[in-house]
């Protein structure tokens, strides 16, 4: 019996562990280390209509228990992703979640329409929250009405369920979540990176060429947990949680907060085997804690105990 299988809109997951967008490329590099079919799903790198080079380097800087990145959505563009990356990934038995990015509404719509038709793309992740792109983007991620509108338009043309990726850089995350739910989102993914900066002690200047960057890694985990805790109680669509996950225990913390699946980002850089390791460790950890299935953990931080009648511990 599997303790880990999860059903989400568009996604039948062997397990709820997937690499986060931008932290796994299009999978090739990690296929050197393990069979990608072990993964619950793969969130591929953001795709835009045209190829993008992204920001100048340095693009990463280290922080305490975290890192900043300002890659700037570098990607080979829609045609190449459709023609090369997705077909390559099709050799694996793993659903793909395509991360869709853009500067204006039409960009999102063009990418979403086409990429959602790729046979192995089972869901879209609408990236309305990338902190590293100058033009556009920011309003989509911070103004509820703008986010709702975009979600609605993308939903109208997408061949697969649409998850919207929320930015943590807002005063009221619940309001954002409700707006995209209203717009028809099938699910949420959260959180994207916090906006941060590091300065070089010798020059006094930003370490990142882009000046600011997105903060990820264990440092942001408490912010992610808090936001998922709040949002999961306010919406009726599932959440794929992320932000600093490194261990099986972290995964449970995200489930307790209200997530129904999780993504692992930065930790892949520290340990390329982190996803399969977590997948391997989870069943034992569930067993020890007295859970028969990981879904029993979902929302445990706020659900009343009656709802856990089947729970042994």
């Amino acid at each position: 019996m599997s303790r880990l299988n999860i059903e989400l809109p568009g996604l039948t997951l062997k397990n709820p562990i997937m690499p986060a967008s931008g932290c796994f490329g299009f999978g090739k590099e990690y296929s050197q280390f393990y069979d990608l079919s072990t993964l619950g799903a793969i969130m591929i790198k953001a795709t835009t209509v045209e190829p993008r080079f992204g920001n100048p380097t340095p693009r990463v800087a280290e922080t305490n228990a975290g890192m900043l990145n300002a890659i700037g959505l570098q990607n080979p563009g829609l045609q190449k992703v459709m023609g090369e990356e997705l077909p390559w990934l099709a050799q694996y038995d793993v659903p793909i979640i395509a991360n869709v990015a853009g500067s204006v509404e039409e960009d999102y719509i063009t990418v979403a329409k086409e990429i959602s038709q790729a046979p192995n793309v089972h869901a879209l992740e609408l990236n309305i929250s990338c902190p590293n792109v100058k033009t556009g983007g920011i309003a989509f991620g911070t103004i509820p009405e703008v986010a709702r509108q975009l979600t609605k338009k993308v939903k109208a043309i997408s061949a697969v369920p649409v998850y919207v990726k929320l930015s943590p850089n807002v005063t009221n995350i619940v309001e954002m979540a409700k707006a995209v739910e209203e717009g028809g989102a099938d699910g949420l993914t959260m959180i994207n990176t916090l906006i941060g900066m590091r300065l070089d002690i010798k020059t006094g200047k930003p370490i990142l060429a882009n000046r600011t960057g997105g903060l990820s890694g264990p440092a942001i985990k408490p912010v992610a947990i808090r936001m998922i805790y709040e949002v999961s109680q306010a919406v009726n669509i599932p959440i794929i949680g992320m932000g600093g996950i490194q261990t099986a225990a972290d995964v449970l913390e995200f489930f307790y907060a209200g997530a129904s699946a999780v993504a692992v980002g930065t930790a892949n850089f520290v340990d390329p085997f982190v996803c399969p390791t977590i997948i391997e460790e989870l069943p034992n950890m569930l067993e020890t804690l007295g859970f028969e299935h990981i879904s029993e953990c979902q929302g445990r931080s706020w659900k009343k105990h009656e709802q856990f009648a089947y729970h042994r511990a």
């Binding site: 932290c23 890659i71 570098q74 520290v270």
Partner: protein, 257 residues
């Protein structure tokens, strides 16, 4: 193939001021295919520091399954690394990247190896392999100051070796670029500060020159796009190479530095 391995430390010695030589026992030595490849070290098991540190392979021994690195104590990560002693284990990901192409120079020809500071280490294995191939090897090594210089005697065993120090405390005063002006070569290999690489690339637009680049890294394996550089010949404006997986060694002129 790239391995992730807990490697036992055989020895660690401070061989010059703030310069450490670290030798580890590692199965992954088997996978090293060229001088100039590097590894990614995890210096702490927790999250501080979080990211791995890229360090070049300075020399390796396939029989003993050992390899040696030389690094400078810089910031938080390398400072922690200096605290590790023989017998302890260190988490290493590697070998990474593509090294120096030794086949670009044949027996009897002359190779000029130019290293600056902490760019010197990867040239040592290169020198060994070229010398073994019967190549005439000339070394030009630049350091800040005498106290930070190392390995001159080792390079001398393979061929002529010139040293320059910025402050003139050892060898000739000044930069490696001053010394190499008068040296003839068939192929030049270099590793060091970007300004030095730029000067050398400019000095020899028509020669065979290979540069090893440095860039801040995330993953070290080509997945995160942290370490890209633009290709020189770029009609579209979006062509790039990744220092970690396409490099760190490039032919001069191939990428913008």
């Amino acid at each position: 193939m790239i391995q992730k391995e807990l490697c036992k430390i055989i020895s660690q010695t401070e061989i010059a001021t703030n310069i450490y030589e670290l030798t580890v026992s590692a199965q992954l030595t088997r996978e090293i295919v060229a001088p100039g490849q590097f590894v990614h070290l995890r210096v702490a098991s927790g999250g501080d520091p979080l990211l791995r540190r890229p360090i070049s392979i300075c020399s390796y021994d396939r029989n003993k399954l050992q390899f040696t690195m030389i690094y400078r104590k810089e910031g938080h990560g390398t400072s922690l690394l200096t605290k590790m002693v023989a017998g302890m284990e260190i988490d290493i990901l590697g070998p990474l990247g593509n090294g120096f192409p030794i086949e670009e120079v044949s027996s009897g020809e002359t190779a000029l190896l130019v290293g600056g500071g902490i760019g010197v280490p990867p040239l040592y294995e290169l020198s060994n392999q070229l010398a073994a191939n019967g190549v005439h090897v000339i070394h030009v090594l630049g350091f800040q100051t005498r106290a930070a210089s190392f390995y001159e005697d080792k390079f001398l065993e393979n061929g002529e070796t010139y040293v320059a120090t910025v402050d003139g405390t050892y060898g000739s005063k000044g930069f490696v670029t001053d010394i190499i002006k008068d040296i003839q070569f068939d192929c030049l290999y270099t590793c060091g500060p970007t300004s030095m690489l730029q000067a050398i690339a400019k000095q020899y637009p028509d020669e065979k020159v290979f540069l090893s680049l440095e860039e801040r890294m995330g993953c070290g394996i080509g997945a995160c796009f942290a370490c890209v550089c633009k290709q020189t010949d770029d009609p579209t404006g979006v062509s790039y190479k990744k220092v970690c997986s396409d490099g760190p060694v490039f032919r001069a002129g191939e990428v913008l530095i």
